[in-house]
Symmetry: C2
């Protein structure tokens, strides 16, 4: 499986494909701006001027409030100094990984985006996989696990941690002195994930860290912010780790985020959802013609997994065949970071793309699957 | 000395000062846009549209070529895939630190910005200080040192590594199987540092890594790129470390960099230099009135160190007194990462600020020094 590389490597290959292949790898929004978004982008030069006139702390605070309130996070510690603006959610995750004590045992949701596990491992932490079934059964990790990382909603499955489950986890963690870490990078796409997470973890009296991300919501060409928020009682050296990584995020990007968040609650969310829903439907219907189905039909995030039957070609094979057909998708073994073989039955496609791109990619995927299935069924012909 | 925190922590304090104090801490350009720069910023919405129309690899390649050629780096490996665009030079440094083998012994220039040393230490490397005097004497570190990190020009001293010295270092490293690492983040400000570094290290046949930065040149509110370039023979897992940190820099920022680099060689450099020179002169003349002088009068970078006599107040004391006067500067102990006490005789002020801010800050510094000197001379009164 190692020949696949990590997921980001495959995403970079797609992004830099000299032959102009279809890139359905990453979860970023690669879409035409809506008229409302285009009007906001047209104001960036003004935001530039404002960034010189207004104090940074005011711009940052306004961006935090506007973005987090747009996503239902009314109890986030705005203005407390405990929300750090990072260049990306990946950097926020790495800062958390650095602040955790080296050698600590950390439970991480499984499957999930491999980068999360990789960053923790690279910083010398010892990872324990924690399955979605265990989460749904409220079968929480016990000490010596000292922190539990939940991706909410999960990537690639779209699983939302229900509010009651998060409360149960937070109360469990408070009893056992564990830290609850929530990576909510895809939260903005899913209404059900927008209950007030900070109220839940705050009420339980546990140590908590929450990562938020603007990078998956809007087609802003990597002009984005990852937020790292943490509880007042947290004793980890997060501020120090942050200061090793950056001085500050861009006040221009913070203003852009505030403006797009305002649009998000003023119809932007519905417009984006309609597009992703339509794309999910065309993938579902196209692969159904060759007997395939979505693994997570209820998922609302901007990616979809397709389930591959055990007697047919696996996702590693399908991935490579699709590359030859000019389509970049992601085979799922790396998401199953503790058990890559379990990911061979899934392949992931991005939905935040123009409809035509998703439709063509789904058709080629279906065709590839058909031809590979014939070859698998009669390997000696 | 540890009570001072690291340099970035002090820079963050200045940036987020609620009372609106004068921030002369970081080396970033905090200036009004020139008319030429403002015209470029006005085109950002077009760059946004172009980022959707043009392939990312074309935009990135053009930005690399325009920026690196503007700084005289004609032999940089443009188009080879060995120049990685990062969110910042700090992130580029961290990627290098991660790619180096844990436990390796690395020589790092001393003094230099503490963040460079901190990032290497945090990744488990063993640091050996390497002084500017040793550099000027061509007294190169011997194995077991496996990599040598030179900041060129150095921050805070402005020392440029002369071309012949870099050649000597690269030939030494080639003989001993060492890697030469050049952090050229301040290169764009200093003509003497713009000889073709890539030609020099390439000719010597050594392993090399060069970090470049757009973040110190223009008042772009943290819209910037750090470049990480490396030699073809380098066997370190740099690509893997990069993929753990990010998918890609912003194609909007890459276009902005290309446009500003074009302006830089079309008069922008001279305009910026005139401003920094004027600010350096007002600092020099103002502190001279109280008997102080610049530590590095020949430095051309956008910061200046002021030397403090041994019988007067040190920079830790002066730093704290200036804070009370609403002026943020940097005491130099953290730059002397292996011997903080050696930095007590220096204090650093930023010059890429509006003239009035630099003038007022220099006046308050002079006044503070006078009053503290009187107190030091007669501590019992």
């Amino acid at each position: 499986m190692s020949e696949l590389g990590n997921l980001t490597t495959m995403e970079v290959d797609a992004l830099t494909d000299a032959d102009g292949g279809l890139n359905l790898t990453d979860g970023h929004a690669r879409l035409v701006l809506s008229p409302q978004q285009a009007a906001i982008v047209a104001r960036i030069p003004e935001m530039f001027a404002d960034a010189s006139r207004r104090p940074f702390r005011d711009i940052e605070r306004e961006a935090h409030a506007t973005f987090l309130h747009a996503l239902g996070q009314y109890s986030a510690p705005i203005g407390s100094g405990r929300i750090l603006s990072c260049y990306s959610s990946t950097l926020a995750t790495d800062i958390v990984a650095r602040a955790l004590p080296a050698g600590a045992r950390i439970a991480v949701l499984h499957p999930t985006f491999d980068n999360i596990a990789d960053l923790f491992i690279t910083r010398g932490l010892r990872l324990v996989p924690f399955s979605e079934a265990e989460l749904l059964d409220r079968d929480w990790p016990m000490p010596p696990v000292s922190a539990i990382v939940v991706t909410h909603p999960n990537n690639p499955t779209g699983l939302v941690t229900p509010e009651g489950h998060l409360r149960s986890l937070a109360e469990h963690a408070a009893r056992h002195g564990q830290t609850v870490i929530v990576d909510a990078s895809f939260r903005g796409q899913v209404g059900a994930a927008q209950y007030d997470t900070y109220a839940v973890v705050g009420a339980a009296g546990t140590d908590w860290i929450v990562i938020e991300d603007t990078g998956k919501l809007w087609p802003t060409h990597e002009l984005k912010i990852g937020l790292l928020a943490y509880s007042e009682r947290t004793r980890l050296p997060i501020g120090r780790a942050f200061s090793e990584s950056l001085l500050s995020a861009s006040p221009v990007v913070l203003q852009l985020v505030a403006a797009l968040a305002t649009d998000w609650i003023d119809g932007g969310y519905q417009r984006a959802r309609a597009l992703v829903d339509r794309n999910r439907a065309v993938v579902r219907d196209t692969v159904a013609e060759v007997g395939l189905r979505l693994a997570d039909p209820a998922s609302e995030i901007s990616v979809a997994r397709i389930e591959l039957p055990a007697n047919g070609p696996d996702s590693s094979l399908l991935y490579k065949d699709l590359l030859a057909r000019g389509v970049h998708v992601l085979p799922c073994p790396p998401f199953h970071w503790a058990d890559p073989a379990a990911g061979l039955r899934y392949i992931r496609v991005s939905l935040a793309r123009p409809f035509a791109a998703v439709q063509v990619a789904a058709q080629r995927l279906a065709q590839s699957y058909l031809e590979l299935s014939a070859a698998v069924a009669a390997p000696t012909r």
